[in-house]
Symmetry: C2
Subunit: 364 residues, 2 copies
């Protein structure tokens, strides 16, 4: 996916914007400031996490901007890069909530701080220290995100036009994460419908629809246009459908994916007990014996390779995997129909087409 | 303290701004939206927490605005109220990090969600669910804070003038909290000097100096003036000194305060093992036997009334309590000298004087 044109194109610019921003943070919390070098691990953890990532959300934002007639300029890459900081916050806090050990192939932030505590031989619980520090790192990412958005260099009235979408996206993200926690807590009571609701809230809107919408609104305002109906139609048809398909692909990769590609141990989503559309679909079609096995194994932190394999077999045998692939193909088709109908430039249409395929294809 | 004129005056307006904002959030996440009523406990927890609080930070912001010539208008109360949302985030995340059971006399947010999980008989650990939900509630407060600031109704260029201070304040807050975690982890290695550093970062700047500075910058920009040197001088002299004295008062109340006034069980700071200036000062003057007692009792979650009393006696006998009171008086005097020298209106000077006394006096 990293080799795809529209993503590769955006990545270098977004990387540069993030590096410049983190250099600015060194002036606020860095050498010469009171508290340094104690704060160095905090800055380093942020830089390390930001070094990875596919820049998917900034790409949707940038191509939304281009689709509405915006030109290539540094300010839009800075505004788009703010979405990567928001994602950084979500990842760090998500890992604390899930108790995940790894992220993007490295130890998760709270595990890094836990190791720092252990190595220094400090007092108290290394685990509590690690979680506390990671909560604060996620908080930093969260405030940095709107700082970079608001300080992107785009005129105030242009940013103000996209602010309602930016704000709604963030509230939706937190609410979606909470619904996800609830889904796991409710366990088998969860249905395909309620898992779909989480996927829309937590992933589709936040990963695709709102970033695209922000880009569209920014360019519309920058060009002095009024927002037209096709913008909402494109966001609904393309944004939501690519978003849900993207989440479904992520669910499948979380169960069947190669650890070298996902950056997570095989079957980690099963160990965490994630209540995805895939799992809900498998449970709906499971025999009582299969359902009992899922109940016994899903969410077991000590789940071994054999256990992962057993769950994979049930997901295949119940037809949930095939159903998931069919759903992805269906959502993608609807999304591309919506894209074809939008009055946007050929270049943006081509890029958004390629992005939709890349975000939902079998390989990350 | 709530009866003091300059605070009472601001409180009603800030309360109204917060209520209006939380009503707006009901439109984003409330009845009729996908996910409601599952999201109702999240909204309710936010409203409950916001119902309490002294509105100290908004008051410093408002009187900064008035000091630089701003007039009384709804927009400044909305901008000032954004600081109360930031404080909400800090409190909720702080309680998760410290494992605190209570806040403002009620169960802390994570304990409320833990109880919700238990009452519903959901799967998994109630404690983990509670912490996860509280992390998300704190995240909501954090994004709502800049949403309300940016959407206060003040012109974009006026907000932009205060943005660097607003942004710096938030990064300082998170970094200060991290230094506080470190201080506790390092335990006895902490000194009065390092505890002072935490107090400046985590409390003085965030609670007094930056809110005041934001108000001053907003009014300066609103009136089309250039920021003058006296603004920085007032922020340094009054802001930092009132802020550190406020933190010292909080430290003393955390050990000696009446639970009915602090909203926390007696000696809760001792149970949490907080490494305050007061504790650092006591340890510096302690006999080896006293130091051993502090080492054994401080941070013991099961510390009983007798243990609290023993630690209180050591803090008194080492002279730390008297030293703390002397420091508060000294900081307050320096602050009031700085206030007297600033070219501000008599009304603002009087209000800031009363606020400084109220924030640092023996009774909350």
């Amino acid at each position: 996916m990293t080799g795809t044109g529209p993503l590769r194109d955006v990545r270098a610019e977004v990387d540069a914007a993030l590096r410049a921003f983190m250099d600015l943070q060194l002036e606020a919390m860095g050498p010469g400031m009171d508290g340094w070098p104690d704060l160095a691990p905090m800055h380093a953890a942020a830089v390390d996490l930001l070094a990875e990532g596919k820049r998917l959300r900034p790409a949707f934002c940038y191509w939304g901007w281009r689709a509405a007639g915006g030109d290539r300029r540094p300010e839009i890459f800075a505004a788009a890069a703010s979405l990567e900081l928001l994602q950084g916050s979500a990842l760090v806090h998500d890992d604390v909530m899930d108790g995940s050990d790894t992220r993007r192939g490295m130890p998760s932030a709270h595990r890094k701080f836990e190791a720092l505590h252990r190595a220094a031989g400090w007092q108290g619980s290394p685990g509590r220290f690690g979680e506390g520090a990671a909560i604060l790192l996620g908080d930093l990412f969260l405030v940095w995100s709107d700082q970079l958005f608001q300080g992107s260099g785009l005129p105030g009235e242009v940013l103000a036009a996209a602010r309602p979408v930016f704000d709604r996206m963030r509230t939706e993200l937190m609410c979606g994460q909470y619904l996800d926690l609830l889904e796991q807590a409710k366990g088998e009571a969860g249905t395909v419908e309620s898992a779909y609701r989480v996927a829309v809230h937590k992933s589709a809107r936040y990963s695709v629809e709102r970033p695209l919408h922000i880009g569209l609104m920014l360019a519309t305002a920058a060009l002095g246009h009024k927002p037209e109906d096709w913008i909402d139609e494109l966001c609904a048809a393309y944004g939501t459908n690519v978003g849900v398909a993207f989440q479904l692909r992520d669910d499948i990769l979380g169960v069947f994916g190669d650890p070298a590609e996902t950056g997570k141990p095989a079957g980690d989503d099963l160990r965490e007990g994630k209540r995805t559309i895939l799992i809900a679909r498998a449970l709906e079609a499971a025999t009582p014996a299969q359902a009992a096995t899922v109940r016994a194994l899903l969410g077991d932190p000590a789940l071994d390779v054999a256990g992962v394999e057993t769950l994979r077999e049930i997901i295949v045998e119940t037809g949930a995997l095939d159903a998931g692939e069919r759903m992805i193909a269906g959502y993608l088709e609807t999304a591309l129909d919506g894209l074809a109908a939008a009055p946007i430039t050929a270049e943006a249409r081509e890029a958004l087409h390629a992005l939709a395929v890349a975000a939902t294809s079998r390989r990350t």
